[in-house]
């Protein structure tokens, strides 16, 4: 692959998949800045290892795979940092449990629901619903049985339904 070909392929990836990667990153993290950083890291990695992609048809899946990998590392690093701090409970989601009501209000209802999901449930749901992987493909990438993927999908859907049905806290000024 020449330098020009590499650059051309890269630009195509950005234009074709940049927005959907950002959407997925945002749904994974719930934070715009973190999502931007994640997508940026993904494309830096993609540019550096562009020659590893043998089949251009698989660029989308490859980019999502990098995104998930980077996110997984970020979550692990975050948990490690949190565990190092005495008296604080490691968070299960990207929206902290102690976050203020005002901050939660800034999120859309689906993001509130996603934030209530276990990391594994959220990741599996997004792989299938946003990335469009089949149950078997998701199972292969996650390294779990397909039944586990189906079970996670069901539980994620149930939990989302419950969360989104709950009345959301509303902040009001003092009358």
């Amino acid at each position: 692959m020449t330098e020009a070909q590499r650059r051309s392929a890269y630009e195509q990836w950005v234009r074709a998949h940049g927005p959907e990667l950002y959407r997925c990153a945002y749904r994974l993290t719930g934070k715009t800045q973190t999502a931007e950083d994640l997508v940026q890291e993904t494309f830096v990695e993609a540019w550096r290892s562009a020659e590893k992609l043998r089949d251009p048809e698989k660029a989308r899946g490859w980019l999502f795979q990098i995104l998930r990998y980077r996110h997984l590392h970020a979550v692990r690093d975050s948990k490690r940092r949190m565990e190092g701090q005495p008296g604080r409970v490691p968070l299960t989601g990207d929206v902290p449990a102690h976050d203020t009501t005002a901050k939660i209000e800034q999120l859309d209802s689906i993001q509130v629901g996603l934030a209530s999901l276990d990391q594994r449930l959220r990741e599996t749901l997004l792989m299938v619903v946003m990335e469009g992987l089949t149950a078997q493909e998701a199972a292969d990438k996650l390294g779990v049985p397909m039944g586990t993927v189906l079970s996670r999908l069901h539980r994620a859907r149930e939990r989302l339904r419950e969360t989104m049905a709950e009345p959301r806290p509303v902040t009001r000024g003092i009358q």
Partner: protein
């Protein structure tokens, strides 16, 4: 926590299938079963779940994309090129002088020069101290012999000696005993009293004894290198550190290759020629 349900209910399977892509074999298999079941209730539930899934997808997709995201992503290759490691530098002898003479390198060079200069100065100082110590040592050895000869009875002292007032006789006598030509002092009222060969710290030295205006003199002549002295050093005068009334004058003559110590009373005149 048990993640996998071993026996999912029909509704659970329906929910799972509704979330899966249309091409998913699991979904297709479920749909096949649903269609063959002739269950109107099941079909109605399926339609509700599909609508719910579509709504979920739409909600998940409803994320505002930052305006400049694509621009920033497209700029990554350029920024990576800037951060790429520089090409291997040329060998130092091919690089321009201005590139080599950086502030850091000049600082290091200056520091090295300072270290070398300090080392050189320390070596010189140490050498000077060692030299001064050696001269002092020779002066004291000579003084000791001068004192012992002064206290010895005439003809005593045990050294290889000759009692003579004739400088030529003394010179001839010494010539056969030491490897260097002995000098004879010359000054008004000075008189030779004898000559001898003595040891200064195991180094052979020619000794001539002199009298002048009631003062005794002992002149020691030797090869400077035999006593670890430099071959050429400026004339020096030493006093006895214990307060004895003697002084010692030391000098060299590079033409003759010899060094001398003249020991005398502190009040004795020290002007001689040879």
């Amino acid at each position: 926590m048990q993640e996998e349900s071993d026996n999912p209910t029909f509704r659970e399977r329906m929910q799972q299938a509704a979330l899966l892509p249309e091409i998913d074999p699991v979904r297709l298999a479920f749909l096949k079963q649903l269609q063959s079941g002739n269950e109107a209730v099941g079909d109605a539930q399926w339609q509700v779940l599909l609508a719910e899934t579509e709504s979920l997808k739409l909600q998940l997709q409803s994320v505002s994309i930052p305006n400049d995201l694509i621009t920033r992503l497209l700029a990554i290759p350029d920024s990576q090129a800037i951060q790429a490691p520089a090409p291997s530098p040329l060998p130092f002898y091919k690089r321009p002088l201005g590139e080599l003479l950086t502030l850091g390198r000049l600082s290091i060079a200056a520091a090295l020069i300072l270290v070398i200069a300090a080392g050189w100065w320390a070596i010189q100082l140490l050498g000077a101290r060692q030299q001064a110590g050696a001269i002092e040592h020779v002066a004291l050895l000579a003084e000791d012999i001068h004192k012992s000869l002064a206290a010895a009875p005439p003809g005593g002292g045990g050294a290889d000696r000759i009692d003579t007032s004739d400088p030529k006789a003394a010179e001839a006598w010494l010539k056969t005993r030491v490897s260097f030509p002995a000098i004879m002092l010359s000054a008004p009222n000075v008189k030779l009293t004898g000559a001898a060969v003595v040891k200064l710290a195991n180094a052979p030295a020619a000794l001539t004894r002199w009298q002048r205006d009631g003062h005794s003199y002992s002149l020691f002549e030797f090869l400077p290198q035999s006593l670890n002295l430099p071959p050429d050093f400026a004339q020096q005068t030493r006093q006895d550190p214990s307060g004895a009334p003697y002084k010692m004058i030391l000098w060299t003559d590079s033409n003759k290759g010899c060094a001398w110590v003249l020991v005398m009373d502190q009040s004795a005149p020290s002007s001689f020629t040879y």
